[in-house]
Symmetry: C2
Subunit: 154 residues, 2 copies
């Protein structure tokens, strides 16, 4: 919820960040955020190390935080779909303690699977890291889809 | 939540019903249900057509009902594991309206996938139907695991 000053144009060229921004803009039915920059729209995904340290781990993760985790993996799924034409649907399971698992299902293939920890503190150091982490998940999924296209296309 | 009179012994021989009963008994840490018959333990899974018709579809599905849906698919997963030695983890997503999806993941394979509707009215006509539906899901998953063992074992 900082890091707005040093916005690098190239992170926003990443297909993942473009998907993420388009998902958020799609929810803006009344055009209230129309004049907001892309960076402003996703600034809440940026949580610096110092901010994380200051966050309490008590109680349930904030619903807004869980919503951001969901959006992140939806954007990964959308980017996968744009790349290979197959729909990737996310499924998520998060306990009250902030632990859980997220998967992206493509046909009958679990194209991506990750254990979640510390969901309370979900966020990325800067826009480059956010873009890089998203693209890393996309690349992992695409690699598995290419190895098992028969299962992904069921 | 009737049908107790005509309990057939053979439905309870089904590996699925045995898994379901063992899951429920495992939760009974204080032995409060020790003297209850298996049929009593799972009687809430039996909802006759007439009972379903009488159920309101308003508001969110009852948490106890969602808990039963989860137990059903956990028992399917447990039976799959007993049969082929691979762990099957269920993931479920249910909307407030009682629609959703449940999957059973074995390695990187979506061994079972089903859309859920009318979760409010989840239940089976009698114990035979409950056992048969559980075994049907197990058989479907096992068939897919046998077709794609490489993905199931990742």
């Amino acid at each position: 919820m900082t890091a707005l000053a040093e916005t690098p144009a190239d992170a926003f060229d990443s297909p993942f960040l473009q998907s993420l921004v388009s998902l958020i803009r799609a929810e803006d039915s009344y055009g209230a955020w129309e004049k907001r920059s892309d960076a402003r729209l996703i600034e809440d995904f940026i949580v610096t190390r110092a901010e994380k340290r200051a966050m309490p781990m008590m109680a349930d993760p904030d619903p807004d935080t869980i919503d951001r985790v969901e959006k992140f993996y939806k954007a990964v799924g959308l980017t996968i779909e744009k790349r290979c034409g197959l729909m990737a649907s996310p499924m998520m399971k998060i306990s009250h303690e902030g632990f859980g698992r997220v998967v992206l299902l493509v046909g009958r293939l679990v194209a991506f699977s990750k254990s979640l920890r510390d969901v309370h503190r979900f966020g990325f150091e800067d826009f480059e890291t956010l873009a890089a982490e998203g693209m890393k998940a996309v690349d992992q999924a695409i690699a598995l889809i290419e190895t098992h296209p028969d299962v992904a296309k069921i």
